[in-house]
Every structure is written in C-alpha cells, then in structure tokens.
C-alpha cells in the first residue's frame, strides 16, 4: 500500500518553492539587467549571508534552542543544518540582496525614495530608459 505520509514531509519544501521560487522568478524576469550589472555584489553578498545565517541556524539547532517537526520536513540534514533551512538561507539571501540592488539602482537613477517599491514592481528596463528629469519633477 502506498504510504502518503512522506508527502507531508515535503510541506516546508513546498512552502519554500512557492514563496522563494516566485520571488526568485520575479526578480530575475523583471530585473535581469540590474542584477547582471551587479553580479559580483549579488554573489558575494548572498554567499556572506548564507554562511553567516546558516552557521547561526546550525548552532541554534545543535544547542536545542529550537527544532523542526519531523513529520513536515524532509529529514535530510547537513550536520545540524536541515536541507530546508539551507534552501531558506540561499533563497531569501538571493531575493533580498536582489531587491536591495534593484531599489539602490532605482535610487541612483533618481527615483524618489517613496517610489522605490514601485520601481521594484515594474521591469527595470522601463525606468532605466526613462529620462531622469521626469523623476526630478516627481521629487519636486
């Protein structure tokens, strides 16, 4: 008889695929030119955050300060680091660094601070190719 319980163990992974996967697809599809221009910053910052965060994460689990439900997680461990947590750190670090890079590029382009999330929501080629004096008028 097929054991459906193992499907439940993919719960955390499924959450990550939906949340991190959509954020990843969004920033790459909408902002590839900006990410490509700053690829060294993107990789270095992501690597630093993943190293720092996952080391703290593993330390916390090893020390017994928190734990994961074995019925809803894969059970694949790298030392004290759960596979899902490694994916969490890589995915969220990449997505947040990418979002910071895009908004910083938009700020450099002259887009006012209050409009930075709007710049993130629109493909970057739109505002990269917009004359700067339009943003200057918006800034007042």
């Amino acid at each position: 008889m097929f054991d459906w319980n193992w499907l439940a163990r993919l719960t955390y992974l499924e959450m990550e695929v939906v949340i991190i996967g959509s954020a990843f697809a969004f920033v790459v599809l909408f902002h590839l030119p900006v990410l490509w221009r700053h690829w060294r910053v993107l990789l270095l910052a992501t690597a630093l955050i993943v190293t720092y965060g996952s080391a703290l994460d593993a330390w916390a689990i090893r020390s017994g300060w928190g734990w994961f439900n074995p019925a809803l997680t894969s059970g694949i461990w790298f030392g004290s680091l759960l596979l899902e947590e490694l994916i969490f750190w890589i995915g969220t670090a990449f997505a947040t660094v990418a979002a910071a890079l895009v908004m910083a590029a938009a700020a450099d382009r002259g887009i006012p601070w209050w409009a930075l999330p709007i710049a993130l929501l629109f493909p970057s080629w739109l505002w990269l190719n917009t004359p700067e004096n339009i943003f200057a008028e918006a800034r007042g």
Binding site: I19, L56, W67, A100, A107
Partner: protein, 106 residues
C-alpha cells in the same frame, strides 16, 4: 532570552559597525533600507504565522514569551535587523565595487 542576546551580538552590533563605517551611503540609501525592512516584515510575518508551532518550534526559555500575532517579538526584531543588515551589506559592497571599477577605468 538567548534569542535576544543572539540578535544583539550577531545583529545589532555588526549593523552598528557597518553604519559607522558607511554613514554617508546609509543616508543616501535610507529609502532602500526602509522599504526592504517593510517588505521583509510583511513577508516574514505571513510566512511565520503559517509555520510557527507547526513546522518549527522554540524551546521554552529561548524566547521571552511575548507574542504579536502569535509570533515571538524576537522574530519581529529579527525581520527588521535581517533586512537592515542585508541592505547595508549590499549598499556597501555596491559602493566598493563601483569605486574599484572607477579606479580601474581612470
């Protein structure tokens, strides 16, 4: 309580040092820091409210115990600190690499 100490030791102090080193850039990109923190608080709280006490748990005594929307207050602080650290690191590296590129081109 240990979570609070970790946040101070590995979040607040490195952030303070980075802000001291890169004051000018932080001022220039304050909007980036503000919006990234806002977004991470929103996404993090949504994510955590689904997962906490189901997928992951905190040992008694690790957190103070006060909760907002069933999320420990330390987690709210973590969202903000994480966003500020990531944004600050990104801005600093961006400026360092840009400066290197300018020097190479001179």
């Amino acid at each position: 309580m240990i979570y609070t100490l970790i946040l101070i030791g590995f979040g607040v102090i490195p952030l303070f040092v980075l802000w001291l080193v890169a004051r000018r850039w932080i001022r220039r990109y304050a909007g980036v820091l503000f919006w990234l923190a806002t977004m991470i608080v929103f996404v993090g709280a949504t994510w955590e409210s689904v997962a906490i006490d189901r997928i992951w748990f905190y040992a008694p005594g690790t957190v103070i115990g006060a909760r907002l929307l069933n999320i420990p207050i330390e987690e709210w602080a973590y969202y903000v600190l994480d966003a500020l650290l990531v944004a600050t690191l990104t801005v600093v590296l961006m400026q360092v690499f840009t400066a290197q590129g300018v020097q190479k081109n001179v």
